[in-house]
Amino acid sequence: MTAPTPATPLIDWHALVQVLYTSVALALGLVVIFSIGVYSLSLYRRSDSTIALRSLSVTAMGLVTLVILAVGVWGLIVIVNK
């Protein structure tokens, strides 16, 4: 006697939930990171900012750029592998 084959669900709830979780994490993460980058640029441009503050701003902007580029590359990989 063979075991009954499980029926394929009408809607792929698992994939849908994964899309939701990933989208929430990535979108909100990117917006937070990018907003920090923009705020850092604003600090860097301020006339009264110290050298230390400017250095910190430049470091923050560099990190933000790297993260954004990494996400862009991931996006291209997803598109190519689709």
């Binding site: 809607i11 994939a15 849908l16 937070v32 990018f34 598109i79 190519v80």
Partner: protein
Amino acid sequence: MHNTFVLVFVVLVAIGFDFTNGFHDTANAVAPTVATGALRPRTAVILSSVLNLAGAFLSLKVAATVASGIVSQGDIIMPVVIGGLIGAIAWNVTTWYFGIPSSSSHALIGGIIGAMMAHAGSSAVLWSGIVGKVLAPSIAAPIFALVIAAIATSIARRLTKKTDDATKSTGMRIGQIGSTALLSIAHGTNDAQKTMGVVTLALVANGTLVQNGATPKWVVLICGLAIGAGTMIGGWRIIRTMGQGFTKLSPTQGFTAQITSSVVILSSSHFGMPLSTTYVATGSILGAGVGTRKRAVRWALAGRVAAAWVITLPCAGACGALAFYGQRAFGVSFGVVVMTAVLIGYCSFIYYHSRKDKIDAHNVNDRWGEHTEALERPFESPVEPVKV
């Protein structure tokens, strides 16, 4: 079946569909960029067009999967494919005239379902596939995008509260350009392949190409060029609805809307649950409006667009069925010519009427309510710009 004459018409009508797909969906990638002035309208459309063309060459993995799991593949014949394409083009052109962002993919699926029902009855349609592949994603896509974009806008607003306006505008606009590029590439890869799939299917059905044969290079080239050319023309009426109609977008809102669209579309592709780009982009823009303090969104307009989404499948289906019956009435070869001529006549009629209240790169960002009386006047409720 060997009928080169009909095959040529399938290829021509498929290219026509790809072209309408291009100009209909330009708005998904560029509407917020145009609305916030991150790029000039013409520049945004040219950038999107070039990247759509590039995207068409990036991957060929989903070619020949159009309508799989939606209709019985064994029952597909050439007139069904042509009927489906004609139905999809007719619906795309109609919704473009009214400036309504609706899914070109759903129009194609609807057209093929209609033509298939006319050919082989409703038993040839896999209804469970429609629920799983069309209806569920249609409901999920805009809701996901709306909620995420609303939260993202609210967060961005708080985090950049102390940022000076000039830096904020510049930074967010740069972010918008990046996400526009990514969305355009994704669109070119995804949507050009659907048409490549249709043409490949026709080549196989005609015996020109062996079963499971690779998509010929010329098919990739013409599909890429068609979607790129369509994007270049710019579906200004839909860009206007998405960029000016739903809400008045600031650079921050434009950025959060586009980053949400990019992430949701790429995530859905990654997990094998492709969601409609149009529905995601529309939901993101609405969410960006909801995320502001005033929640300034024209919900009546959004409701009308949602109603158009609901009727996309049946209306494109009805057009597809009519196109199929038309072909049968005149015989396959002559019927294809007649139905293509009817389609060209209908498209010309719509284009002629659209010229009376032309929307283009020069007036796409005009105040909402000044153009296209049919769409804008009933939804002219004031939405004041919100400083975000």
